[in-house]
Amino acid sequence: MKSIKNVIGIEINPKFVGALFTERIENSLRVFCFYTNGETSQFDMPADENLGNLQNFHSKLNMDEACSSVIVDEVVQGRVYVSSEGSHWLYTLLSTPGNVLPPFNADICNLAWQCCWRSQTADVLEYGKPGDPVHCFAIRTQISENDATRLVKDSNAFTNPLSVQKKQPHRWLYLNIGAVLAFLGILIVLTLFHSFKKSANDSVQSSVTTEATAETRDNSFYLLYNHQISGPYAMKIITSMNAGGLLNSETMCRPENSAEWISLATLFPSQLQK
């Protein structure tokens, strides 16, 4: 027999709240909660009967009445201030014992983030899925240039950081050298074999090689958005930026060696947000 259950209430322990975001849309209140154990919950509820309860909950979190969101310092791994195409963004990386984070460096904003909750003031981004080796959340908010400058100054943040590639351990280095030498050996053998073989498809192969070279050369793109040009970026970076919601349908791009701009929507027809 199928039982029908109506949830008539949900209580959240404020001591377990790491971050809370709320937004009112007409007669509905939207809530996203990030807990100190890495779990999340998001739900909607009728605004008229829950405004008082929400204010009460805010007071337990020591939030101002005017605020609609809070991030507890204990769950903040760090913040990254990003300037991109005329806009400024603040990435707040959330960290709890339940999450495994990617390396926290200047490239954090280029990861393939997925937006899992969005309000007018903030986007909640998720990297990976629960159970993945690396899984975490970040909050992305757009800030003004003045705010960006002030926040960087007030927090004494390290300025203009550049990521440095990790050095590979020697064991891996030798292994890699061995693999490359083996690959080169195979390549030489194959080349010698083919040089003795006069095949008719030489011309076809050469055209394929030329095409591949051209493709590699043109694999970097300049982006044009909001009357500013940035780049060149590798296609991989553009794909990541697109996945992170940093690009929209008005963005245009052109290959590094071309003067022809194309709409980015033609590259990612179904993925770009309006």
Partner: protein, 261 residues
């Protein structure tokens, strides 16, 4: 016999002229010499003579001559005021258009600059980008200028400009980039002009006319025109000593002078 030889020579000469005129590259040795002569005049500071030489070369279809004439007139027009400015810029743009449509990169870039800044022509960033793209196509040193201009455009205008540029490159040129200006029109007379900051106006054939307005006027009586045929005249610009108007149905603008009393 002598007559026959003369006729034969005449036919050969005529054929030569026609072949030269019909050819894609009408510039001849003679017009090149005129351009060289113009350059010498210009470097010696004899600008009137230089302009004469360039104009002659341009009339013979010399692209370099047309560009040089357009460039000179454009520079002079920018430093002039009033009627002279309008006439020189208009003529200059005409020569630049001829050179640009003969794939002269500098002429394309000059036209782009005029369209970008609204010098002697209405501002049109889309067309400016299209002409500059042409310039960059023929001379890659203009590519950085393209990036400086593209940031002023909206995305849809960039795509439109590239489409226009592709049409130009394939030889589908616009009929013109600006309306040519004729000096005077026997059917139209300015009886008075009032120039002030609030809005200038002219009295044209008995009617008053402001910039952007249109009126019906009876032409000045002349044997050429019937007295009953009314003209629809619109006003584009009013200066202290001139008015720039257009007559409906006629391609060229009319530069009407205000006669001193």
């Amino acid at each position: 016999m002598k007559q026959l030889a003369c006729r034969f020579f005449g036919v050969v000469c005529l054929l030569g002229i026609l072949t030269s005129a019909a050819g894609g590259q009408p510039a001849s040795d003679g017009s090149d010499k005129l351009v060289a002569q113009g350059n010498t005049f210009r470097s010696n500071g004899k600008l009137t003579e230089a302009l004469w030489a360039y104009r002659q070369a341009a009339k013979a279809g010399n692209v370099k001559g047309a560009f040089a004439a357009g460039d000179m007139l454009f520079a002079q027009g920018q430093s002039d005021n009033g009627r002279e400015r309008v006439l020189k810029l208009s003529e200059g743009i005409g020569y630049l258009y001829f050179a640009a449509t003969n794939r002269h990169p500098q002429a394309c870039a000059k036209l782009a600059n005029a369209l970008k800044n609204g010098i002697g022509i209405q501002t049109n960033l889309t067309c400016a980008y299209a002409w500059l793209k042409l310039a960059a196509q023929y001379n890659p040193s203009y590519k950085p200028d393209l990036d400086r201009l593209v940031v002023l455009l909206q995305p849809e205008d960039v795509l439109q400009a590239q489409k226009i540029a592709a049409e130009y490159i394939s030889g589908h040129w616009p009929d013109r980039v600006a309306r040519p200006v004729d000096q005077g029109d026997s059917r139209l007379t300015i009886q008075g002009v009032s120039v002030n900051g609030n809005g200038s106006l002219i009295i044209l054939n008995g009617g008053t006319l402001k910039v952007g307005e249109m009126i019906n006027v009876a032409p000045v009586r002349s044997p050429k025109h019937a007295a009953t045929e009314k003209l629809v005249v619109s006003c584009f610009e009013i200066g202290a000593d001139y008015a720039l108007v257009a007559v409906a149905g006629e391609p060229n603008l009319k530069m009407l002078s205000v006669e001193p009393r």
